[in-house]
Symmetry: C2
Subunit: 242 residues, 2 copies
């Protein structure tokens, strides 16, 4: 049996906060738990919050804003973007510096403490996950895995699902290549994105509202190993769906 | 708390089997449970299993098979396909008659009782889910929701995740439009594909092998309502990611 446990009582997270300390104080962690943390609080703790008025919009940002959105926000998005994948002004699907393809390069302006600020994705969410994992080992004395999650839209299907942006202490892809099915034939499905499935599972206890419940514990998984969420990024040349 | 419970002891499912009876005999269901059933056993019970030698490959099927795959299998795929979305022979990403975009139009040849047979998707997975739900009400006396799930690849990210092909007794998309966040500002994320997140969560207890554990119960969700998985299909003209 796998259990999905909300962690309640976490205070509002601010820049410089020791996230491991806050999580350890709020959650009763056990060895082998997977701690799923919403990207937003990781970004806040890491100071990835910027003021809109720090951005001078370029001509391209003004064009994309199309008079319907603050061009400074588009400028912030463009600075986090390696490549604009799709545009339907003022909406932008961007490939971030990490290689994630998502709306607005993952930038968020809701639920910040100040309406004139934006929350950017962590610079290196895998490193964020590793730091939190080490911090929980130190503060709570438990060996857990950590996933930094966010809600992403996707092609072909309606609605967002939560996915893993950062991973520590867990193999994000379970490779079935070479394993045979019960008849001894090779399996059609070769790799399962387990870290994304854990992120999605964790989101179920949030019932839509993510800011009030940023930390969720998934207990009873037996996936071990170690890897990075960077492994979940599909290289364009291998992407049959793209 | 949400629990993900594997249902063990289900016998091999064959055409004509009463799936509700088999599930009711193996699972201890409770009111409000979500019963997640792998598409493959639903298709088997519904007789959506075809023999390869029933297909006479067209020139297009031979072309797509590219000498690397049985052209009769490609012919079967084409007959389930409304539109070939991408092709890299012998691999095909197809839009099925239901509107799902997936590899090989969802056709599977592994784990069938006979290696010369193929398993097609159910003709109407939402109807399959509704029948199973009604059957479980009759056989087990419980009001549950049902999801028919399958493992799909997706653009931009490595690995498959399980998604909902059929839904009964559950709202598959939780619409947050109009809801405000804690500061009173509109939320950026407007719809959450809860049914896909439940399907993904259920897959976590399978640890990769789906045929040995086709039925999973997800307990403790409080999403009610009623809808269809057809609502999860993104109309092309609205799909900013496509």
């Amino acid at each position: 049996m796998i259990s999905i446990l909300p962690v309640t009582g976490l205070p509002e997270v601010r820049q410089g906060d020791d996230l491991a300390e806050l999580v350890a104080a709020s959650a009763s962690l056990e060895h082998g738990d997977v701690v799923v943390v919403a990207q937003k609080v990781v970004s806040k703790a890491e100071g990835r919050v910027v003021r809109l008025d720090a951005f001078e919009p370029s001509a391209r940002a003004v064009e994309l804003a199309n008079g319907e959105r603050d061009p400074r926000e588009l400028e912030a998005i463009l600075r986090e973007t390696r490549r604009v994948v799709r545009e339907r002004a003022p909406l932008v699907i961007a490939e971030t510096r990490h290689g994630f393809v998502c709306a607005s390069a993952g930038i968020d302006h809701s639920n910040t403490a100040d309406p004139d600020t934006l929350i950017l994705l962590p610079l290196d969410p895998d490193a964020s996950a590793r730091r939190l994992r080490a911090g929980l080992r130190a503060r709570a004395g438990v060996e857990v895995a950590v996933i930094v999650s966010d809600s992403f839209g996707r092609p072909f299907r309606q609605g967002t699902t939560d996915v893993a942006l950062g991973v520590a202490g867990l193999t994000p892809l379970v490779d079935l290549r070479g394993q045979a099915d019960r008849r001894g034939e090779p399996l059609r499905t070769t790799q399962v994105a387990v870290a994304d499935e854990i992120a999605a599972a964790a989101n179920l206890v949030r019932r839509g509202k993510d800011d009030g419940l940023p930390v969720v514990v998934v207990r009873g998984l037996e996936f071990g190993g170690d890897g990075t969420a960077a492994e979940l990024v599909m290289p364009a040349e291998l992407d049959l769906f793209r």
